[in-house]
């Protein structure tokens, strides 16, 4: 399984890099959202900066990754390469994990510039330790969103109204992850504004971990069923 996972991961990554529009459009979308917010609201008041920073990072992240996730299987669908994958002796979990890893890399490629740009636009200086913790929580959120998104993308592959169905399923189910990300993020970035900030951040990390475990387990277990014969 490991060999197939690495092989499919490398091929998927190559296909993503070969299609610059697919690679760049989520990142550009995230940056456009941040610029629009900056132009609309300007620099927030000092007491609101941590919350505005966290909100901007997660808003751009969730919207941009949604566009990438909704068309996660497009490169394989174009010439029915996915049918050949399904007809091959490949463990479906290997396909799922390879797709997930590609989505995670895309998520990180959005998260890093989004964090930097948000901090600049909000006029916020985030201490190093807090930035490391915030990045960890953000990565956890991306992993959860990725697991959920890849599963839903597989689930909606055969649906006629895929573009409508995907966000309808994705956003409600992503809510626990986003709540944990934003609330935990504020507790990390601005501990003075949250009572017992350390404990609160810890609790939200646990919520995020739980959602991650559920979505990842469901993804690995269900993926084979979702893509098996019609």
């Amino acid at each position: 399984m490991m060999n197939n996972f690495l092989l499919i991961f490398r091929q998927t990554l190559r296909a993503e890099f070969a299609d610059r529009e697919r690679l760049l459009s989520p990142l550009l979308f995230a940056l456009v959202i941040l610029v629009m917010l900056a132009f609309t609201f300007g620099e927030p008041p000092a007491e609101n900066r941590p919350a505005a920073f966290v909100a901007q990072v997660f808003l751009s992240l969730v919207l941009a990754t949604q566009t990438a996730l909704a068309r996660a299987f497009d490169p394989e669908q174009q010439d029915r390469a996915f049918d050949l994958l399904r007809a091959s002796p490949v463990d479906p979990a290997a396909i799922f994990m390879a797709k997930l890893l590609v989505v995670l890399l895309q998520g990180v490629s959005i998260l890093v510039p989004a964090t930097v740009v948000s901090a600049l636009f909000c006029g916020l200086e985030v201490p190093g330790a807090a930035l490391v913790k915030f990045s960890g929580l953000s990565l956890l959120t991306i992993t959860g969103l990725g697991s959920l998104g890849v599963t839903l993308a597989a689930m909606t592959l055969k649906a006629h109204a895929r573009t409508v169905l995907f966000p309808l399923l994705y956003f409600p189910l992503a809510t626990p992850l986003l709540l944990a990300g934003t609330q935990g993020g504020i507790a990390i970035i601005s501990p003075e504004s949250v009572p017992v900030a350390g404990a609160m951040a810890g609790s939200w990390v646990v919520v995020s971990l739980a959602a991650n475990t559920i979505f990842l387990t469901l993804g690995i277990l269900l993926f084979g069923e979702l893509v098996k014969s019609d």
């Binding site: 092989l7 490169p75 010439d79 029915r80 049918d83």
Partner: protein, 213 residues
């Protein structure tokens, strides 16, 4: 591959039922029938992509390679070599050299520098830019490279010129003589000229396989 009593129906319309077929080593079966009789559906069932409404399909996983009628199963943004190498390694666990790929592409008249280029030219022309016939030739070249025991081919020579049809016939003969088997849908009967084969006719819901060739 052994098929027993296979049947399929779309809502309100039965396509075929009670199809039996044994496909042994070295055998070629021509799956035929009028348009809309369910040939491609039957092929998808054989490839495990569609559940039959009735009957059973026994086929060892991984021994077959399926080629659909109107698509070739490539990552369209990648070049010929990247696609061939990926499918070969996925199916067999073995890698292949640039020289092997180049020889194969030459055999299928695809050795144009932009298609078969290596080094700096590698992948210059993505498969998406290939003509219909070039994509099909590349898909048939992949069949040879992967070395699957059973070929499930839906209109394999569609869009091919005379030279490519001859190359395909040569590849098919080699495949059969080395103990491979093939189930082929083709309205172009040049494919079967001079070969021993059986026919499975789906017209009227399925006819027993009879000998041809």
């Amino acid at each position: 591959m052994r098929i027993r009593g296979a049947g399929f129906a779309w809502p309100g319309r039965s396509l075929f039922k009670g199809i039996d077929l044994n496909l042994a080593a070295g055998e070629l079966v021509h799956l035929r029938g009028a348009n809309g009789t369910g040939k491609s559906t039957f092929m998808r069932i054989c490839a495990g992509l569609l559940e039959p409404a009735s009957g059973t399909i026994d086929c060892t996983p991984g021994i077959f390679e399926y080629l659909p009628a109107e698509n070739n199963g490539f990552h369209l943004k990648l070049g010929a070599a990247d696609n061939l190498r990926f499918w070969r390694t996925l199916r067999t666990g073995k890698t292949c050299t640039d020289a092997e790929i180049l020889a194969l592409l030459r055999r299928w008249s695809l050795a144009h520098p932009l298609v078969a280029g290596t080094g700096a030219f590698r992948g210059v022309l993505p498969v998406a830019k290939f003509s219909t016939g070039m994509k099909r030739r590349l898909a048939l070249a992949r069949l040879e490279l992967d070395g699957a025991r059973l070929w499930l081919l839906d209109e394999p020579v569609s869009g091919l010129d005379e030279e490519a049809v001859a190359t395909f016939k040569d590849a098919l003969e080699k495949h059969l003589s080395s103990g491979g088997a093939a189930l082929v849908i083709s309205h172009d009967t040049r494919v079967f000229t001079g070969l021993q084969y059986r026919t499975l006719d789906l017209t009227g819901g399925g006819q027993p396989a009879r000998r041809g060739g």
